[in-house]
Each structure stands twice: as structure tokens, then as C-alpha cells.
Amino acid sequence: MSTIQSIAGQNEQHPDVALVERVKAGDVSAYDELVRKYERQIFRIAQHITQNREDAEDVMQDAFLKAYEKLDQFQGNAKFYTWLVRIAVNESLMRLRKRRTGKMVSIDEDLKTEEGSVPRDFADWAPNPEQNYNQSELAGILRKTIQGLPHGFRVVFALRDVEGLSTEETAETLGLSVPAVKSRLLRARLQLRERLSRYFKRKTAPTAQHGAPSGIDGALAQPKGN
């Protein structure tokens, strides 16, 4: 299913195209613009995957350098940003592999858990619950919560929901099928929601909600399309 971004981008030339052409023609300052435009996003993605600041710094540098060196291989039919993200994801996975002394790391690992694939906490949240915490407390909660997700869910959520890639772009970037991305995204969203409920639910909520209603319980026990 197409997203708003991909529909909007179909018939107009993305501003990155001109910058890429200038870089290919030898204008390094155009690459400076591209780096400035995307460095924060690439750093965030690398942090999401490696969970380590030093690794994210290295990945960010290596990804931009590799993209620069391989720019001739970049085909104009893809977006520069998604191409760059793919390089950053691969660099991040390589970095993880190094850290784990050569053990293979893929985005498919740790996905057997069924935890969180069925909603169990139905307590409503306080209005604007994030306002009950200061910035640094909130960032801590959000980091801790997303770090608890299996790796293959976390990266899909980060690309799709945090960085705003379309489902198709996320699939292409990670080398997954569209149904696999959709399945992982749903489970990632539900697991995060469930975990955040601990912090965000109304403090005065009645505690009488034991068990799930028959209709919802087990609804996603067999995730589809993976």
C-alpha cells in the first residue's frame, strides 16, 4: 500500500537529485550540504541499531564516506536518503558483528518471542502522559523501552515510524518483504505501547481489568505475512 510520501514523490524531482549530480561532477561542497541535511538522522538510526554512542559515531562517519566513494553506483531511480540509510544499516550491523566477536548479526534474530503481540493492558493513559516527566526522564523511559524490543522489530519501528520511511522503502532498505515489514511494525508498535503503559496509564485507573475480552485475546497469536 502506498504512503503519502511515496505518492507525493512520484512526479517531481527530489532536491537531492541536483545535489548528487553536482557531487558527481566534482563539487564537494554539494556533498557537505547532503551530509548536513542527513547527519542527525543517520546518527539516530545507527544508535537505534548499535545501541552504543561510539559505534554510532563511527557508523555515521563510515556511512557518509562510503556513500561518497560509491556515489557513481547510485541510481537516480532511488532516493538518495534511502540509499544512504541502507548503507548506514549495513554498517551498523557490521559494527554489531564486530562487537560480538564475529558472530553473525542479522535483522531476523530474536523474533520468535510472542510477547506483546496481543494487547493485554487496556488501562487508558493520562492525557498528554509525557508531560508528567521532565525531558531527560522521558528520554530515559523511551530509550529503555525501545531498547527492550527485539532487534528486528526495533529497526523497523525506527525506520518506519521515527524516521518516516514508507513501508516499501523500509522493506527495500532492510531487504525484507513488505508483508514482513508490516508484521514486524505491528508487533513493534504493540510491544512499545504495552511497555509504555507502565509509565503512562492513569494513576487513578480502577484495577478491576483482569484478563482480556474474548474477542481480542489471541487475535495476533499467529502473526501474518512474515
Binding site: M1, T3, I4, V28, Y31, D32, V35, R36, E39, R40, F43, R44, Q47, H48, A56, E57, M60, Q61, F64, L65, Y68, E69, P119, F122, A123, D124, W125, P129, E130, Q135, L138, A139, L142, R143, I146, F157, D161, V162, G164, K182, L185, L186, R189, L190, L192, R193, L196, S197, F200, A212, P213, G215, I216, A219, L220, K224
Partner: protein, 78 residues
């Protein structure tokens, strides 16, 4: 619409990718089912919170240092 059917549509609902007819069926279901309504609202809120709050800040000085290092390496590789 059942809760199971609602959950299968959850992502498309959040991404605003369902037909008007289907959306009105969902709205009817949500009016009757408080649990699904909570799941819908809090999942949307989950995404919004993650989208609006920077959890991996790149401080300005570090950003400048990395930016300079990247561009130096690119110029050297020319």
C-alpha cells in the same frame, strides 16, 4: 467488526490507509469496545511520542566535530 478484525487493521488505520467505508465500520466498533479504543488511541500516542521526542540527541559540538571529520575524509579520498 470483531476485535480480531480491528487489530488486523490497526496499522492501516494508524497510517490512514483504509477506505471511508471501512473506517466507519471501525468507528462503530470502537464506540462499542472500550478496549479496542484504548489500544487504538495509545498505539497512536506511542508513535507520536517517539516521533516528537529526540531520544538520541546529537549535541551541536559533537555534530560539528563529526561533520568536519566526514568532510575531511571525503576530500582526502578524492
Amino acid at each position: 467488526m470483531t476485535c480480531t478484525e480491528f487489530l488486523q487493521l490497526l496499522d492501516d488505520l494508524i497510517d490512514d490507509a483504509v477506505s471511508t467505508t471501512l473506517r466507519s465500520e471501525v468507528e462503530q466498533h470502537l464506540q462499542k469496545c472500550g478496549h479496542c479504543e484504548v489500544v487504538f488511541n495509545t498505539t497512536r500516542k506511542t508513535i507520536e511520542i517517539y516521533r516528537c521526542h529526540e531520544i538520541y540527541e546529537l549535541p551541536a559540538d559533537l555534530r560539528e566535530r563529526l561533520h568536519t571529520a566526514i568532510m575531511d575524509r571525503c576530500r582526502r579520498s578524492c
